[in-house]
Every structure is written in structure tokens, then in C-alpha cells.
Point group: C2
Chain length 178, copies 2
């Protein structure tokens, strides 16, 4: 972070390389190298996520790291067919859950902060909603107050590990003024 | 972004200054300077947000920028008492809405990306859920398929414009492994 890029007319404080790392090169990764993702890395990701405020000040996010073969098998049972292969192969799979009674947006806000923080660790994140939420809740969140929100595949992407971006809505399609 | 901080043992790819800008110094701002937030800045924020993938690939986020005194008045009518002053004074107020039928997390994911991108522009964001959602929907999203998710106050914070962080959950309270 070196302040606004001089001479480019940019209004951003974040430098271009960090913009690329966190935003512009953010693809949903579908294929990963074998490189592992350590608990130390995940601790540093948590350390970033925990600082960012939510809309109501809550911290409803809970994360189950699927590390064992047995845990992976239990998750794959409830994963939609199209997502099964990449989830089977990702170096680390995280199941993100939120308190069922949390103020609605706070859990998803923290989930998004988690995804950006994964990218801040130099890793790719593949967020997915293609799973059976009741099944995943039975497997991993029985007898808790939490409910699965999304599954995130995490690792170092292979060079061809993502599809090109689809078309994006432009400014005037998203923003209006009153 | 200069790669992992050498010698610190950090596993993060994002440099320390950017970590502070986006995460560690992220407080909910309650007081702002008078400095305006231009449409050009908001365009650059959008340009960051639009790149980041959602769980289902949707782009359900819509944003109403409240720029006129009349628009501000319409919003304040539906803002909870505790939030009214800071929303009245913020240089820019954005009402974030999502398609009512969108896959649940995608709208909130994009809202979180928006908040992080506001910080990437060197601004502070104060996300709030303290408003009457039906009232805000009637004012700003009548005859649309969208529904208000949160209100975000945006501007440059004053030095004393935020309260200290409350206690945060530690790693073992948020993460478990299977």
C-alpha cells in the first residue's frame, strides 16, 4: 500500500498490486495445486477477519475446516454433483456457518471478509452454494445454534484453474442517486 | 503489495500497510470530516467490487447513493434514533439492496466487498442495520425486485470518529477441524 497511484488519476488508496490480489484477479478457483494450507495461515486469516466491523457488531461466523479424509467424505455426501470434484481435490475446504438467529447480513459480511482475507494470504477461494444445507447442518452443526451458509474451497490455483469472468454489470446498472 | 513480509514469519501475501488499511484499522466510523465523496470515487469502488466472485455467480447488489437533502430526509425517517445523527452528517450515505430472490449469501457477499472497497479508496465505512426495512423499501425500492439490506455511511473519519473495538472471538472460538 503506497497511497494513491500517482499520475493515474486513481482515487484509490490501495496500490494496484493489492487491488489485483484482492479484487481484480479474484476468480472462483476450480482447480488447485497440491500445496497444503496450514493452520498457521488460517490463524492469520482469522486475525484479519476478526477486526472488520459488522452491521450489528455481532461475530456470528463459525468455520469448520475439513482436514480429514473422513470429514471430506461426510461433506461430499451433501455436495451437489457439479461441485463434488473440485471440493474433493481442494487442499483445504472450509464450511462457513452463521448463528441462525444472527442479524441477517452480519454472517454473510464476515463470510465475505473471510474470502477476501484468504486472498490476502495469497490463496484462491472458491465460494460455493451448491450443497444440501440440511444435510451439511446434520453432519457438522447438529446440537449447535449455527447453520451452514457456504462452502469455500481454498488453495493455490493452477494457471488454468478458473474460467474467465462472465459479463459484469456496469456502474449505471448497479448505482442510482436520489 | 510486496509479497510476504520478510522476516516476520507472516503467511500473508498482502503487505502490512494494506492489511491495516482494509482490515486491522477497520472501525465502524461514527463521525466524519466534511470532505465529499465523488461519483468518480464510487465508480472506482464499483470497479473493484464487480470483479469478486459470489457463491452462485449472481450480481444481486444494487446501491442507491443518497446525495440530495430530500433523499437524506426520506432515509432519516426510517433510520433508528441511535443512528440518525451520524447518518445525517455522513458525507455520503449508500443504501445497499439485494434482489429478493437472489441466492441468499450473494447479496451480502457483494455488500461486504463494497465495504472493503470503500476502505480501499481510503475512506471509512459505517455499515448499519438500524433502520426500518419496510419503510426504506417503500421509499427507495418500490416497484423493484430489490429489498434494502443495510445502510452504509461513507466519508473520511475524524480522528476520534470511532469507538475502540469490542472484544473479539479468538481462533479456537471460531474455527474447528474435522
Amino acid at each position: 500500500m503506497t497511497g494513491p497511484d500517482s499520475g493515474t488519476g486513481s482515487h484509490l488508496a490501495l496500490d494496484s498490486a493489492s487491488q489485483s490480489l484482492l479484487f481484480r484477479q479474484a476468480h472462483t478457483a476450480n482447480a488447485f495445486t497440491d500445496g497444503p494450507v496450514s493452520d498457521e495461515t488460517v490463524r492469520e486469516i482469522h486475525d484479519l477477519v476478526k477486526s472488520v466491523p459488522t452491521a450489528s457488531g455481532g461475530q456470528p461466523l463459525r468455520v469448520v475446516l475439513v482436514r480429514s479424509a473422513a470429514g471430506r467424505e461426510r461433506l461430499l455426501r451433501h455436495t451437489s454433483r457439479g461441485n463434488r470434484d473440485k471440493t474433493a481435490r481442494a487442499p483445504l475446504v472450509a464450511v462457513l456457518a452463521v448463528a441462525r438467529r444472527s442479524a441477517v447480513p452480519d454472517g454473510a459480511l464476515q463470510a465475505a471478509y473471510f474470502i477476501i482475507a484468504v486472498r490476502a494470504a495469497g490463496l484462491a477461494a472458491g465460494p460455493m452454494s451448491g450443497f444440501d444445507p440440511e444435510g451439511v447442518d446434520r453432519e457438522f452443526f447438529a446440537d449447535t445454534k449455527h447453520s451452514a451458509l457456504m462452502v469455500v474451497n481454498i488453495g493455490r490455483p493452477t494457471p488454468d484453474g478458473h474460467r474467465p469472468h462472465g459479463p459484469r454489470l456496469d456502474f449505471a446498472q448497479v448505482f442510482s442517486s436520489v
